[in-house]
Symmetry: C2
Subunit: 478 residues, 2 copies
């Protein structure tokens, strides 16, 4: 049967999670490889998810006073080099433009890997007085970091993201903005992506090149691996010194600004797939699903069926839902499988008998529960069910997260957990990079973050036995 | 007076239109030069206009079945070279990436100047059967064409645009889509940007590199120069042959697809400035104005004034308008001048006496007409006035266009018109490129388009005197 074939072509996630992921991306038609090494193509189903993420996140940004801008794609090498740590972090993976038209450039240009340096150059030019502060700018764009290996949404030479860059009069205000945006990310992920996050601070080893402090949100994928899902950096006045960004305060004294930057990327789509997906394909939270309800007519050539299906679609759209009807010449079972593969949260089935009795059947993608309702009630019931699905998906993801956090008090417990218990490991740490390196060397696990909610589950470092300073979440990560 | 200074710094458009344009861009804080030659910075006021253009145009696209995608930034040189005319048109102005990270690339990559070749590569891979057609894809992105000279919004090495690329089973369907999208552009420009367009076909000399036919919308700027504002191309099956894009039809025969592409760019913002602006700055049509109503309190420290202003703002926002209140410590006159400079369509003044009498004053940006209304009626009155402004701006632009179209029957009339009558010149043409070249050489005017509404105003070519084939709009152009 055709409908079985579509599903059979997906590897089960329990058999091979990596292959399952690749299969879902391909069969749900989210992304495709391009003929440019390391670069991906966002197909309509994948890009439409990104558009919803953009729309919802951008509204959250603007509610906090963010203004959108667009800065150039290119960074002159000399500009990139002004901040020592930053250039060391990014120059090795930059793509370099050396020729414009038929002429060799006097100075080569990096295709932006991130735009701190450009925003610094801008702020250097436009910030003079305290009246010019704060600057809270953001841009939606693509960035390029030359990668040898590619995984759809998770790692590619070019990816889409937003990068916020702010300048403030005081250190306190910069720290406040850094944490504010981390919370915007966490709230968005929880409320709209149905993905709970562990919030915390990165260790110095893991922080952004040039930052004083990096904060992160970390999610747990279905296979127990962590995914860094968004970061927010406080630069202090380091970049301001390197790029000479000063302002005169109310008392006419010259001060350096304090800066932040923060970003999330199309990685979030990878998180959606790996947190919510199942062996039938994608499962999308209703808030970001490009199509929320797919109506599938049964015996669509029978009297009144196509009309009734179209009527339901119109009523749903009128009610503000994103609905479509599948009138293709495929069999209903195949259409069911396709809608499931694409992760459409709700399916409505409507056949000749339903038309007769004025009813239709609503089927949830996440639980496959069915409920029969009067056609006239379909819009209201669908809207309610979508919100229920959204909440239930979050609850399930929370339970999965909570049941995959393990405390390790000894190194033996730690290494055992990394090997046998996929998930986050909570363990105390002395604060030394040497222990992070040893743990990574021994287990491949890395420090994910020092959670904001600190506890003292032991007195000594899980690795070296010296006095413990911080509770850290550890884990294998994408 | 401070408020006078802001305005005085703008050159009058009648004195020096070019300088006026640059002044408006700078003083309205739309755009800034960057330290990368040829690249511009979109500042918040400028980018917000682009966001509104994107939102409105994208909705129009999607209503016709367009799906958004995102393709890579880079094009391998070998891929660019497959279509002969196309590579000749674009390779000379491409920016070339030669190094990724620390390694020299085996093949250099062009930063996309336009993405026909990438879409062809994609369609080659994903189109097999008639069931896969049509493909109606679009992407919003930036493109790079190496330019020596820069003018904000009109000419820069990198600019923002959308590019639609479609593939169809038949030549008829491709032609239909080409014209459909040109009409989408023209309707959008007329209804949302309040800019009337001349629609027509480009001569072979002016058509897109690789196209069978290029259609264009041409607008007339305040100084009488034309601005090509959007183009839609029918490629026939030329690219399909070069990139081997075939499908099997219902009878299992192999056929080549027929393709189109179409785009508008941030040039449209240049058109907005040059069609509607005046000596006080920008004048924005309400549909795309980032802020539609600016509320300026008079004596904002007086009892109840700031509160009343805030209340009006909230009521306007609740009514669906984009409103803001200027509570800065500047003088009211300065705030008026700033709101005018930014082109905000409507200003609301509210002072202590107004608060007492429950009134406020609405001031139109375009005509400066004032009307006093009850505070409670402000949202409804503002909404009405904004729509009136939108319509009046279109009417004024139409009148300007119509009064700047001149018919030339002889070459003397033609050269006289180019010199003394800024605007479009309608004249008959024999169809030979030699006459286009001579006219450009003699007058700097170029053929803008062969309008869809053809007339026969003379029997012979205005240039060579041979039998006339087409009525052509000519003009100096940006």
């Amino acid at each position: 049967m055709a409908e079985k074939k579509l599903v059979e072509e997906i590897t089960s996630m329990d058999v091979d999670f990596t292959q399952w992921y690749t299969d879902v991306v391909k069969k749900a038609e989210l992304m495709d490889y391009s003929s440019i090494k390391g670069c991906m193509i966002f197909k309509p189903n994948g890009y439409a998810i990104w558009e919803n993420i953009q729309r919802l996140l951008d509204a959250r940004f603007k509610a906090t006073g963010v203004e959108n801008v667009y800065l150039p794609l290119f960074i002159p090498e000399s500009l990139l080099q002004k901040e020592k740590d930053h250039v060391e972090g990014f120059a090795p993976e930059a793509a370099w433009v050396t020729h414009g038209g038929n002429e060799e450039l006097v100075e080569r240009l990096a295709v932006r890997p991130t735009s701190e340096t450009l925003f610094c150059d801008l702020y250097h030019n436009i910030v003079q007085s305290y009246r010019d502060l704060p600057k809270v700018y953001n841009q939606w764009c693509s960035v390029v970091r030359w990668e040898k290996t590619t995984r759809p949404f998770l790692r590619s030479s070019e990816f889409l993201w937003q990068e916020g860059h702010t300048a403030h009069a005081t250190a306190e205000e910069a720290e406040e903005r850094t944490l504010q945006m981390l919370n915007v990310y966490a709230d968005f992920c929880e409320q709209d992506l149905a993905i709970p996050m562990i919030k915390g601070r990165k260790t110095d080893k893991e922080k952004f090149a040039g930052a004083e402090a990096t904060y992160t949100i970390e999610a747990l994928m279905h296979d127990g691996k962590a995914l860094q899902s968004g970061t927010s950096h406080n630069f202090g006045d380091g970049f301001a010194h390197a790029y000479d960004i000063t302002y005169t305060d109310k008392d006419n004294r010259l001060s350096y600004v304090h800066q932040t930057s923060w970003g999330v990327s199309t990685r979030l789509i990878g998180a959606l797939i790996m947190v919510h997906g199942d062996d039938s394909g994608l499962v999308l939270p209703p808030h970001v699903a490009p199509v929320q309800v797919m109506i599938v007519p049964i015996r669509q050539d029978a009297d009144g069926v196509a009309d009734a299906a179209g009527g339901v679609k119109d009523a749903l759209i009128k009610a503000g839902l994103r609905a479509n009807v599948d009138l293709s010449d495929k069999r209903p079972g195949w259409k069911f499988a396709e809608a499931e593969m694409r992760g459409i949260p709700l399916r409505i089935e409507i056949g000749p008998k339903d038309v007769e009795s004025g009813q239709c059947v609503l089927v949830r993608r996440d639980t496959r529960e069915k409920v029969t309702v009067a056609i006239a009630d379909a819009p209201q019931k669908a809207a309610e069910l979508l919100e229920t699905i959204q909440q239930d998906m979050l609850e399930r993801a929370k339970k999965h997260l909570e049941s995959h956090i393990y405390d390790a008090h000894t190194y033996e417990e730690f290494t055992d957990a990394v090997e046998n218990k996929p998930g986050f490991i909570r363990a105390m740490w002395c604060g030394e990079e040497a222990c992070e390196l040893k743990i990574k060397e021994d287990t491949t696990a890395t420090s994910r973050c020092m959670p904001f909610e600190q506890e003292r589950i032991a007195d000594t470092c899980v690795c070296c036995g010296k006095p413990a300073k911080k509770l850290v979440y550890w884990g294998k990560a994408y």
